[in-house]
Subunit: 232 residues, 2 copies
Amino acid sequence: MLDMAKNSEIADGIERRTTADFVFERLHEDIVSLKILPGSKLSEVEVARRFGVSRQPVRDAFARLGNQDLLVIRPQKATEVRSFSMEQISHARFVRLAVELEVIRCACIDPDETVAPAIEINLELQRAAIESEHSDRFHDLDYDFHRLICEYGRRPLAFETIKECKQKIDRLCVLSLTRDSRATTLVEDHCELIKAIHDGSVDEALIVARRHLERLDETISLIHKTHAEYFE
Amino acid sequence: MLDMAKNSEIADGIERRTTADFVFERLHEDIVSLKILPGSKLSEVEVARRFGVSRQPVRDAFARLGNQDLLVIRPQKATEVRSFSMEQISHARFVRLAVELEVIRCACIDPDETVAPAIEINLELQRAAIESEHSDRFHDLDYDFHRLICEYGRRPLAFETIKECKQKIDRLCVLSLTRDSRATTLVEDHCELIKAIHDGSVDEALIVARRHLERLDETISLIHKTHAEYFE
DNA sequence: ATTTGGAGACTAGTATACAAGCGCTGTCAA
DNA sequence: TTGACAGCGCTTGTATACTAGTCTCCAAAT
């Protein structure tokens, strides 16, 4: 309870970390990992008591989470964890697809070849990860892969946008257990994509990318059916 | 000073409006319209005094503006209005382009024809607006046009994303005075775009859209040269 | 002349107290 | 039995006091 005060002091190596930061990160993690389920009510005072802080930093943290669409805050009403909306999920996926496609187009036209080696290494590691069946490891590598693609297309900031979309969808996909079974297919997609970009065949690359991201859709609609209670 | 308290009470027709909302909106407007210039320092107490409220709602408003990248807030340091960054502007334009292209692709493949009449009317009004040289009116219609395109492609939420990007760029473009001279060209773009979509020629539509959004680039780089002091 | 140290006036972060709206629940009357 | 209404406990919103960093400027020492 009180030990967090110490944490917030010791961890300020580069930037000053506030209590609000701490509360925010903890809550964020709990919400994204579904330790706190959609629809749950969160009281400022209750959370404040739990963390041993005053309401103020909790309030700040709530506001930030609200801005990320994770909480719905209404004056004088209990703020609650936002439940999933098929529209929003679909929109996040749409934006991600749009941005990713455009990044790939950039990569085809004017690639930053200094990034190419890193991609090759990443692909190798992906293959290794699925052989040794480290699905967490693969997940990290997949994340890196899409980041590298953005750098390859000289659009590093695009990954920030992609990341935001990804987070919204990932929160949902925590509910899915079929993740790793698809890993092999996903790696194949990645390889095909890189090959197409190397060959400079824009259209082919875009088709592969589209197919790659569409694989999520079945997972999403499956979850929609099996976990309807978390949808609004 | 105190009259705003009344304002916040009378305006809550649909949803409860808080003092923080009020402060946020006022500041937002002032920042976006460049009444408050990039680099300006904003003090919580000073703003609170100016609006005749306590620091708390101002703090909330600051946090929100910070989340929109309009303010840079650092612990124990004066928060200031974020100056423009060419990277961010360019990124916003990139995301907007990506999303808009994908929306148009949707509109070509599976358009919501119930929206078509509204678009026709909008185009007519655009022509009327530039003839009577109402540039503000044209700006509103342009806004509506891009909203309608999203509905036409059955992606209404996409406009929210486009709007966010637009806002970031528009804040910069307030500095430009050459807006209206281009109106005629822009309307022509709009018409061409709609025609291409109607004809179902996806590639043509995408080319037109690309060209349309690229027109912003010269304006942006012009401002970058003439107003370097507002860039970081 | 340059540097350094410290006072004071800033900054934002936090804690606490109070105000005010919403919703439930229990009671009382029809 | 059922409906309405009052009151209470919950929620968040706001105000204020206090803490603690940061900056600036000026004076004193080198």
